[in-house]
């Protein structure tokens, strides 16, 4: 068909670009993840060994990978949608005053430059001069070594990352909340539903599609945690803030073990893919309603 052929010609440039700059590198990375490509191989391809799945096997046996995975999971679970949903509900509630002000204030961090605000947060977290410890000192809490204590570094990064990112989710959730017809609440109230039951049987089901989208976006994004630890802690202290992506960066671009770095990337891809698939399945079963 001529139309069909014309259509192919029209999409060909885009397909070509996607093929050359996306699928080809991904395929190359997949092959690379089955080899021990490193600087020796860069010098001479005869130094390249095909190692099959051993990059993956040794990765899964590396304690640091599991630590990074745990750190990332910690970050996703604590930092992801919970806080955003809470703040959006609060802002939507009739009890809150100065809504417009808070909405702007809470959205502002999203448009700031990450590195610049990370540097400022590093000052806030400073053990001896930081504003945060100063405030805590005011209520009698001993100074906390936020970025130096392995137990506190990840919570500190979560506080920062949530502050930085949650405005975006909040705006989406707020839009979702505003699109729920007021009549539904009215009807629920007439039936004598408590605030909690209104939330459970009106707000949540109506918000379900948006919650799903937000959670997929957030979880996929938060699994790719990188810039925050890179700027604030370099993965320290005691590697407690090494995320999976940070591990990949170090393997690939610091040590030039491109083979095992590619393996990390594919493992991360599979994890995100699997979790997203689970989420979709879970919501299709209608768990929210």
């Amino acid at each position: 068909m001529r139309f069909e052929r014309a259509a192919w010609w029209f999409v060909a440039p885009a397909l070509l670009v996607i093929g050359v700059f996306f699928f080809l590198p991904v395929f190359a990375a997949l092959l690379m993840s089955l080899t021990d490509f490193d600087i020796y191989a860069l010098a001479d391809l005869r130094n390249l060994r095909f190692v099959g799945l051993s990059n993956y096997v040794s990765l899964l046996q590396t304690p640091l990978f599991w630590q990074a995975f745990g750190n990332t999971l910690y970050f996703v679970v604590v930092g992801a949608i919970g806080v955003s949903l809470g703040a959006a509900l609060l802002l939507h509630s009739r009890l809150a005053r100065f809504k417009a002000f808070f909405r702007t204030a809470l959205f502002a961090p999203v448009v700031t430059t990450l590195v610049a605000v990370a540097v400022i947060w590093r000052y806030l977290f400073n053990t001896r001069y930081g504003l945060l410890n100063y405030a805590l000192g005011g209520v009698g809490i001993q100074p906390i070594d936020w970025l130096g204590d392995p137990h506190w570094a990840m919570p500190a990064i979560i506080v920062f990352a949530v502050w930085k990112n949650f405005g975006y989710n909040m705006i989406i959730l707020l839009a979702g909340l505003q699109s729920i017809p007021e009549e539904l609440y009215e009807a629920a109230r007439i039936d004598g539903a408590s605030i909690w039951r209104q939330f459970r049987y009106v707000t949540l089901p109506m918000l379900a599609p948006i919650l799903l989208m937000v959670s997929i976006l957030t979880i996929a994004g938060y699994f790719q945690l990188f810039a925050e630890p890179y700027v604030m802690t370099q993965g320290g202290p005691l590697q407690s803030t090494v995320s999976v992506l940070y591990l990949m960066y170090e393997e690939g671009f610091k040590w030039w073990n491109l083979g095992s770095a590619s393996a990390v990337a594919f493992v991360l891809f599979l994890v995100i893919f699997g979790i997203t698939a689970l989420q979709l399945r879970y919501t299709r079963q209608g768990a929210w309603t």
Binding site: D36, A43, N126, T127, R128, G148, P150, Q234, L238, W255
Partner: protein
């Protein structure tokens, strides 16, 4: 349609021809007849100021034009590797001397021994031995030292005097006595010494002061379970366990210079770049309170790391003789002194230290002394990674998660895993 398919190659041909013509044109852009263009990559501050030294070189070498490209340190390593992968290396480059083994493994560098043999300006016995040694891999010379970095003690003279000591420590034992005395006066909120946990250098220096090498059998295996490294690690951990050093990384000390001025710590191990920083950042009334001193060793003055940058010629260069001439020019003592004035970098030749501001600088004196006792880190491409593991494991030991025994075992396991490919390559090389 078939005609479209048939025409397609011609449509592609035009841009291809254009690209070919353009690349020919750029190829011709280099010396058409008599002019040699030397491409010189230099990093950071050195890259900024080296251009000031070049007009004189171009005057004395008519027909050679030097094109300097400045790389930021943070991107330099990656850019060089990319250049090697893409056959786009410069003629001559500034290289951190710990990178040399890696670039030798990549077959990227030109051995310089034949040039050295015919040179009248570069006399290798005039160079500090440890620094020169960093450029020799497998018996061949791959670079000429340009400037040196080594680390030693920066200390607060006044605080040391208050603790009852008139001179800096010469041995490990004296250092321990001073750290204890200073901590005794400083109280719980201040410390005797700052050993940032994100730097591997302090521990590496202590380890280099030992007789046993850090790797054994030509860099095939880690040697961390040896008595020497064990002693170094015990000494290092002892400083933290007794509360003389805070278990902090550099990024948590918001301003090292201010904190040094305030007496948060009295000893700091750092390099020559901090001479200028302390001069500039400490207030005038604090200027006579600080000094530099060579590193103490297990028994008397000890060794430190042979760091710094070298000048190397790439094997793909077509202008090697001219590149060597530039190295010779930059290695002249008079030029090195001028370079020191511009950058504060310390010269690698004894003759360059004989005269000028570098000879008069009281803070540089300890460096001059220390440079006679510097040792290179193990010369294998994997070293930087192993050093990083050393830092990570030492940090865990500082936090009490590992004992000395567990830490050295763990380090050997990690080093052996990293060196696996090297063993395979060396084994294959020996086999055939």
């Amino acid at each position: 349609m078939s005609t479209a398919g048939a025409r397609l190659p011609w449509r592609w041909a035009a841009p291809l021809v254009a690209i070919a013509v353009l690349s020919l044109a750029t190829a011709c852009n280099r010396p058409s007849s008599d002019q040699t263009v030397l491409r010189f990559w230099a990093m950071g501050r050195e890259g900024e100021v080296v251009a000031e030294l070049l007009p004189e070189f171009e005057r004395s070498h008519p027909g050679v034009h030097v094109q300097v490209q400045q790389l930021p340190w943070s991107a330099a390593h990656e850019k060089l590797l990319t250049a090697i992968a893409g056959d786009a290396t410069p003629d001559i480059c500034q290289l951190g001397n710990t990178w040399i083994p890696e670039f030798v493994a990549l077959n990227a560098l030109q051995p310089l021994d034949p040039y050295l043999a015919g040179s009248s300006t570069i006399d290798h016995s005039d160079y500090f031995t440890g620094i020169w040694d960093t450029n020799v891999v497998g018996g061949k010379l791959y670079g000429v030292p340009w400037y040196v970095d080594t680390r030693l003690l920066f200390y607060r003279r006044d605080l040391l005097a208050q603790a009852g000591f008139s001179a800096p420590p010469k041995s490990w034992q004296e250092l321990y006595q001073m750290l204890a005395a200073i901590k005794g006066r400083a109280g719980p909120d201040r410390y005797s010494i700052l050993l940032p946990l994100n730097e591997f250098e302090p521990l590496l220096m202590l380890a280099l002061q030992q007789d046993e090498p850090l790797l054994r059998e030509d860099g095939r295996w880690g040697n961390f379970e040896s008595g020497g490294f064990r002693r170094a690690l015990e000494f290092y951990l002892g400083i933290f366990q007794r509360g003389w050093a805070p278990p902090l990384t550099n990024s948590e000390v918001s301003n090292v210079w201010n904190e040094f001025g305030r007496g948060y710590f009295s000893f700091y191990i750092s390099g020559p770049w901090n001479i200028g920083e302390f001069k500039r950042r400490l207030p005038a009334e604090k200027q006579d309170t600080w000094m530099t001193a060579p590193l103490p060793g297990p028994n008397g003055p000890g060794a430190s790391i042979a760091g710094g940058s070298s000048l190397a010629v790439f094997s793909a260069s077509r202008n090697k003789p001219a590149a060597w001439q530039l190295i010779e020019y930059l290695s002249q003592p008079a030029v090195q002194r001028r370079f020191h004035e511009l950058t504060g970098d310390l010269p690698p030749r004894r003759a360059s230290w004989a005269d000028g501001p570098v000879a008069d600088d009281v803070y540089a004196r300890a460096f001059r002394d220390q440079l006679e006792r510097v040792k290179p880190a193990p010369k294998v491409p994997e070293w930087e990674r192993i050093a990083n593991e050393m830092r990570v494991v030492a940090e865990r030991a500082v936090h009490g998660e590992l004992s000395v025994d567990q830490a050295v075992k763990e380090l050997d396991v990690r080093a052996d895993r990293i060196l696996e490919k090297r063993r395979w390559l060396l084994g294959r090389g020996a086999g055939g």
